[in-house]
Structure formats: C-alpha cells, structure tokens
Amino acid sequence: MIEVCNITKRFGPTVAVRNVNFSVPKGEVLGLLGPNGAGKTTTMRILTCYMPADEGTATVAGYDVHTDSLEVRKRIGYLPENAPLYKEMFPLAYLDFLSRVRGIPTSQRKARVERVVETCGLTGVLHKRIGEMSKGYQQRVGLAQTLIHEPEVLILDEPTTGLDPNQIKEIRTIIREIGREKTVILSTHILPEVQATCNRVIIMRNAELVADGSPQELSRRATGTALLVVEARGPADEIRQGLAALDGVKSVTVAGAEDSFSRLELAVTDGKAVAERVFAAAVRAGWTLRELKAESASLEQVFYELTIGEKEEQ
C-alpha cells in the first residue's frame, strides 16, 4: 500500500531523512518510532505530499507522491503533529467543510459526519468550539477529520503526545479500532505506544532507519539474545564460572547477592535450552536453585541500544 524508496530530504545543511526505505502492506499498523528530531515528521510530510523529497520516490496506493499528488492526498487521512485545527470552528461545521473538500456527495454528507462523530466519541462536545475543548477531544476531532472520507491510509503524527493517561488510552482504543480495516502509520517517541497499537515497528535515529520488524522480532533481535535470570546458592565464583562455561551462554553478569544466594544474568542465545543446562549443572554441582527465568530483552532495551546507546558511543 505504501512504498518508500531511498528517500532523502535536506533542510540546508541538516539532513532530516537519509536514504530511508520501507513498505507497508495493506492493513498493517506501522509504528514509526524514534527520538525527537529523528525525521519522523519529515518522512510523514513527504508521504502526505506536504513537501517533496530531494531524492528517492514514494508511492501510496500505487500513486507517486510527487507526480500524482492529488490522487495520493485523496486516499490519505493525515493528522499532523500537535493536531492543528481551526479553533474558532464548531466540530460539525469543520467536518462539513472537510466532507465538501473531500468531494462527498451532498446526500451522504450528513451521514458521514454523524458516523465519524460517533466513532470518535464527539457527541458530547458538539456545542463547543474546537478551541474550547480539552486536548483529548481536540485530538479526537483531529482523528475524525482524518476519517471523514473513509481513506485507505491513515498517517498520524504523534497522536497521543500531550494527553493525560486516560485520554491516551481512549485515543489508542480508537486507533486500534480503525487499524482493523485500514493501513496506518503512526509515529511516536514513546515505546509503549507501539507495543499497544502496532503490528510492526520501524525505528529511526538521526535521519536514518535503524530497525524494521514486529515488536517481538525486534526484542529478539536486541543483541540476538534472550536474558536468563538465575538465583543459586553455592560458592559464588564456582557458580559464575560454571555457568559461563555452559553451551549457549554468551556472558554472565553478577546482578547481586542476597542471603547467600547469587543473582546472575546470563545473555544466552536460546533461553529454554540453556535453562535446561543450567538446571542440570546445578544438580551436578549441588547448588540450590531458587530462581530460573528466561526474559526476552524488552523493546525498551532495543530502543535504547538503537537510539540513545549508539549516540553516546559516537
């Protein structure tokens, strides 16, 4: 549905997006994750035809964003960062304006507007001007605005930024609901967002794409490792060396000691197989095992490694 091919965009000396490639199949909810300034907004602006890329091509539903911009724009619902809206308007008038520009026939306009009002839960605020609503409701108006023409593709730039936890939850529910039928790209700089709403994540850092995969895949790929947490009683050095010698253990870190138990974290290639070997080794050496737990590295770790972590190395 969306193909991005070697896109580069510069603003004077700043490179905002460098050689970015990705594609989004129909029906996928893609999270575009990255710290502030990574180039998420710029990527979205290119896809929505707000500004052209300097190099590379992008197509939406088979139409080129540069040469067939009107066709692309017809098929996209876009919520820009911070949900800019005509604050002095009432929501119904605003949605009516959009349905006109979107070319919805007069006979269907009212029904369409009513439908998005319901989907986005706006019924209770119709008497308020958009500028008088809470941030959460403004964001809902922003979402309603993207849905009015029943687009195939939704592009949402940081749709939950600036909302309180309840509002975030509500907006995510709406997005998940919408995501069942549509192709969605949503950007965010907060992790739980992608875990809560996306089937796939791409991570951007310093204008470049640094990772692409499902949230689970990315976690696994963290360093190609899972994490095994072991708590055992016995001679600390012997335990450490014994575990390090096991097949499939890449490294051992001592995470602490507590009433004669040592707590160790093993970076391993395959959590389950190694866990078995750890158990067998403990039986052989006569250590008492209190805990043996495999954890996949959290997406948070991946994100940290890919973004902040690497930045510090430079």
Partner: protein, 238 residues
C-alpha cells in the same frame, strides 16, 4: 471549483465566527457615512463622487485588515499543513481565500447602498456614475485584496501582514499621483502612471468604463494571485 467554493465558504463564515466581520462592517459603514454626509450637507450637491473619492483611503486600512489573517493565521497555528495535504490545488486554496475576502468587501459595499438612496430622495441623483463608482470600487477593492492575501502568505505574523499590505497598496496607489509623476523621468512616469491603482480608479469612477482599465485591474489581481500561489508553493523547495 468545488474546492474553491468550499474554502471560500469556510473563510467567509470564519469572518463571522470570530466577529471580525461585524466589527469591520459596522466601522466601515459608520466611517463611510460620516465622511460622506459631513461634506455632503455642507456643499449640498446630489452626487456620490465624494463617497467614491474617499474609498481608496478607507480601503487602504480596511482591506489589509480583512486579508491579514488569511494565510498568516494558518501558518502560525499549523493548519496550513492540513489544508495543503487535502486534495486541493494551491491555486484553488488561493482563489477560495481571495473570494471569501471579496465576498465580505462586496457585502460591505452593498450595505452602503442606503446612502445613494438617501441622496436621491434629497436631490436629483444620476445613477449612471453611481453604478460606475460601485464597479470601480469593487475592482479597486479586489486589487487591494489580491495584494493583501499575497502579503499574508509571506509571514506568520498578522500585524506584519497588515503593515506590509498597507505599505504596498499605498505605494501602488501613490506612484500614479502627480507629485511622484513630476519627480521621475518621463519614460518612468508613463510606466508608473499605467501601473498605479489610482489612475485607473479615477477614470472608472468618472463613469467611463474603458476595457483598458478593466484589463488593468484584472491583470493586477491575476498577478498578485499568481505570486500568492508561488509563495504557497515555496514550502516545497525551502
């Protein structure tokens, strides 16, 4: 066309949403009637000349006031990004905004219509020149508007847009005045005289509608609307 009307409609309603329209209409009508009748009762001639003579000066401030927000506000609030990612051509957006402002101006002019009616009750008014005057006022106003909308697209700041609008319109009007024309070389003077908004206003206002004046106004309007489209497009190559 559908997009042009949708945008013009929204902008026109926007004037009334934010009360700008009411303030504008009331002040405009009060000022025009006061300036007109003050002199009218003194010299007691059944003529509307005076109302049209003051129009370029009244418009000098009123027109930039109604155009200043049209783009500047969108840029400041960020709705520009919404508008420009709708399936609307840049030229349609420019025309929509221009027509909305023109709608307000024409409404204001229509509301001055009681003035010639009162005059015709008091004396013998020739409606020919009055019609010419109204046409000239619409053309002049539309030219000012085209300048004003364009200037609004250059900045995020409405006040800057207003001041810049006043300055450019004033300059375009004044380059045709005698003071300027006498102080520049003849070759330049004839160009100035042609380009000036004022020269053409006077000839239509006299009741003579010359196709050259019409073409002049339409080209000025077209020129500034074109610049406007270009300046909107400039976001793409900045």
């Amino acid at each position: 066309m559908r997009n042009v009307t949708a945008i013009a409609r929204r902008e026109f309603q926007g004037y009334f949403n934010s009360l700008i329209a009411y303030v504008f209409l009331v002040i405009y009508l009060l000022l025009t009637s006061w300036l007109f009748f003050r002199v009218f009762f003194l010299n007691g001639q059944a003529s509307m000349r005076l109302m049209f003579d003051i129009m370029p000066w009244v418009y000098l401030f009123f027109v930039p006031a109604i155009t200043m927000r049209l783009w500047a506000e969108e840029k400041k609030v960020g709705t520009m990004e919404l508008l420009m990612t709708l399936p609307v051509r840049d030229v349609e957006a420019v025309l929509g905004k221009f027509l909305a402002a023109l709608g307000l101006l024409v409404l204001a002019l229509a509301l001055t219509f009681p003035i010639p009616l009162i005059v015709s009750l008091l004396g013998n008014l020739d409606f020919g020149p009055v019609a010419g005057g109204y046409l000239a006022a619409i053309l002049l106003g539309a030219a000012y508007l085209a300048v004003g909308v364009f200037v609004s697209s250059l900045t995020q700041n409405q006040i800057v847009a207003f001041i810049l609008g006043v300055v450019i319109v004033f300059a375009l009007y004044m380059i045709g005045s005698d003071i300027v024309l006498y102080s520049v070389p003849t070759a330049v003077a004839s160009v100035f005289e042609y380009v000036s908004l004022g020269t053409h206003f006077e000839s239509i206002g006299r009741g003579v509608i010359d196709s050259r004046d019409l073409i002049y106004y339409l080209s000025i309007i077209g020129f500034f609307l074109y610049l406007n489209v270009r300046s909107i497009e400039s976001r793409k190559w900045r």
